[in-house]
């Protein structure tokens, strides 16, 4: 039992074959299927983007109400054993490397806690010698009493590791395939364990099988045909829903940002493209959490609010120790929205939405 994807080129072809009538059909479908998603992602849907936005807005409102969840990442280490062409943490980039001690990581968390965050995401480069299950478990046990929810975005782990972390208080796992296109995946992942496409693809199911409450999937947009990438994400979501029906699912849409290493995106993905994906996936799966991080600029985040996304990061720093030290070095990428939690919250309120900092409780997991 493992997710497998149709050939990526086939997905691109399926999308480009979609016509106006496929789009009409998708927009009126009570229960859109994967072909409807293909239509909504196709160039033929472009004239219908406002209708898609309207439908996406209505579905989001119905399911999530006038709320937006807020979280912040804590980068605990930027050591990495992978060489990935697009990433600032890539092993051959000459950047200052740092791994936070448990005390330092807890100090970062304390700062976020004081700022009002209740949901945090622990992020690291992929270097098991620096950040392994023991480290994450110890950190989770320190943080679980302070925060409503603690998630991780680290190297793929085994199911048993995920189970240990779940019992230590980790609520959710985010692991992005980066690209579902196998050839391009192999081209941009030059060395390291991340070269194993299939192991990474099966990571969400290992984490879900371990009992994690929420799994985040995503792709790094700018590597391959974004339309097919979003269709692949939809197929992955649908498969996970079928097989792990009690697991909450989220999708992220990171667009490539300027990073150390001077990687030029292979494909340009505009805000219009990003919005089409958000609307399409919302219509395809009304229940999925859609995350728009501080990679995106403030103005876009303010405008797209309420039209599909359900969760924002805020006040993020992508370098280890960046909250305690305001001038950190060694960031993963530079952010597009530099506002504080208070400022982002104010902007959310100005749109008539409630910025929600606490939407989980550690007691759920202590009961395990």
């Amino acid at each position: 039992m493992s997710f497998s994807l149709p050939d990526f080129t086939q997905l691109s072809l399926e999308i480009s074959a979609c016509t106006e009538s496929d789009v009409q059909r998708a927009l009126t479908s009570a229960h859109p299927d994967h072909h409807d998603l293909a239509a909504l992602l196709s160039p033929a849907a472009l004239p219908h983007l406002p209708q898609m936005a309207g439908r996406s807005r209505d579905l989001t409102l119905l399911r999530f109400g006038r709320t937006t969840q807020l979280y912040a990442p804590i980068y605990v280490s930027n050591y990495c054993t992978n060489r990935c062409a697009y990433c600032g943490f890539s092993a051959d980039n000459q950047i200052p490397r740092r791994k936070l001690t448990l005390d330092e990581a807890e100090a970062e968390a304390d700062i976020l806690h004081q700022r009002g965050f209740q949901h945090i995401l622990l992020v690291s480069g992929e270097a098991p010698a620096a950040v392994d299950t023991d480290y994450l478990e110890a950190l989770a046990l320190r943080l679980r009493g302070k925060f409503a929810a603690v998630s991780i975005e680290v190297q793929p782990l085994e199911q048993g590791d995920y189970r240990r972390l779940f019992l230590a208080g980790i609520t959710a796992v985010a692991v992005y395939q980066e690209t579902y296109n196998r050839e391009i995946y192999n081209e941009v992942h030059l060395a390291g364990r991340k070269c194993d496409y299939d192991y990474r693809l099966a990571t969400p199911e290992r984490a879900a099988a371990a009992g994690m409450r929420e799994i985040g999937v995503g792709a790094l947009f700018g590597l391959a045909d974004w339309r097919a990438e979003a269709l692949a994400l939809g197929l992955h979501l649908a498969w996970l829903r079928k097989h792990f029906w009690s697991t909450n699912l989220t999708v992220s849409f990171p667009r490539l940002r300027p990073a150390a290493g001077e990687f030029e995106p292979r494909v340009l993905v505009s805000q219009r493209d990003l919005s089409q994906m958000i609307f399409g996936l919302r219509i395809f799966d009304p229940d999925v959490g859609l995350i728009v991080s501080t990679r995106e600029e403030a103005e876009y985040r303010d405008q797209i609010l309420g039209l599909g996304p359900t969760r924002y990061s805020a006040g993020s720093c992508t370098a280890p120790g960046g909250y305690a030290d305001p001038e950190p070095a060694g960031e993963q990428f530079s952010v597009g929205d530099h506002r504080s939690l208070a400022e982002v919250s104010e902007a959310i309120r100005a749109k008539g939405f409630d910025p929600v900092c606490k939407d989980w409780d550690p007691e759920f997991q202590l009961a395990q």
Partner: protein, 261 residues
């Protein structure tokens, strides 16, 4: 083709054998229906008697014999009955029915789940009759049920798919075949279930008590086939609204002028 428990079926119409005026009429109706899956209430037959009229009327070469535990009030009774049936008939197929309320004959979800867990462990191919509860369907599937059999309406009511909203969720979520069982009173209702994407339907009362059960069996076969073909062909969708591109009422579509291109 439909596959359940490793076996494939050309016909998506399953038949029950109760309420017929005679075993001979039942046999003729089964033949007219083209059905390959026939369920028999264990309490109605004597599996140890080779001359039992219902068992004698079944062609076990061409039909999968699906004994059911109709009458069981709890898991313990259903499990005991299942083991006796397997010992006497040699089949591991079982339609699990646990119906403690003799008035409505509605299935007990707790006892049905308990019995499914045990019978799957005991090596049975279990098809549980259940209320149209999507979470129960998922729990039964996780417990190893080979198919799930949500009801359209209570047994023998001929009311049709009153549970359509719930059945649609079950069909959407299931990894195992979904067989709509009970309540189907007319061929059009059978076709409706098939158009919704059900993998099969089980019909008994509507055929058994028809003026001409044999002709009615044929009508159900045609309806099931038509409904399935319609589902596979991709039904045109109902639209609740006219698709004007510039709506004049209701909520306006958002202005996307802020986007770069």
């Amino acid at each position: 083709m439909l596959t359940i428990g490793g076996k494939t079926f050309k016909s998506r119409l399953f038949l029950g054998t109760g309420k017929f005026s005679s075993a001979a009429v039942m046999k003729e109706a089964i033949e007219a229906s083209g059905s390959e899956m026939i369920t028999v209430a264990l309490r109605r037959v004597d599996l140890n008697n080779p001359l039992d009229d219902i068992m004698a009327a079944l062609d076990r070469e061409n039909h999968t014999f699906l004994p059911n535990t109709s009458g069981a009030r709890n898991a313990t009774e259903a499990i005991r009955l299942a083991h006796l049936a397997r010992a006497a008939s040699g089949t591991s197929w079982l339609k699990l029915e646990v119906t403690p309320d003799p008035r409505t004959l509605l299935p007990d979800p707790v006892e049905t789940l308990k019995a499914t867990e045990q019978l799957v462990r005991d090596g049975f191919i279990v098809l549980p009759y259940m209320n149209a509860d999507p979470i129960l369907a998922l729990r039964l599937q996780d417990a190893g049920a080979a198919a799930v059999m949500p009801l359209g309406a209570p047994i023998g009511t001929n009311q049709g798919i009153l549970t359509a909203f719930q059945v649609a969720i079950i069909i959407d979520q299931a990894r195992v075949p979904v067989v709509v069982d009970a309540g189907i009173g007319t061929p059009s209702q059978a076709a409706q279930a098939m158009e919704m994407g059900a993998d099969a339907v089980l019909v008994n009362t509507a055929i058994a008590i028809a003026g001409n059960p044999v002709a009615m069996a044929r009508a159900f076969a045609q309806a099931v086939e038509a409904g399935r073909t319609a589902f596979e062909s991709g039904l045109g969708r109902k639209s609740s609204e006219a698709s004007a591109s510039s709506p004049t009422t209701g909520t306006l579509d958002p202005d996307l002028g802020f986007l770069d291109s």
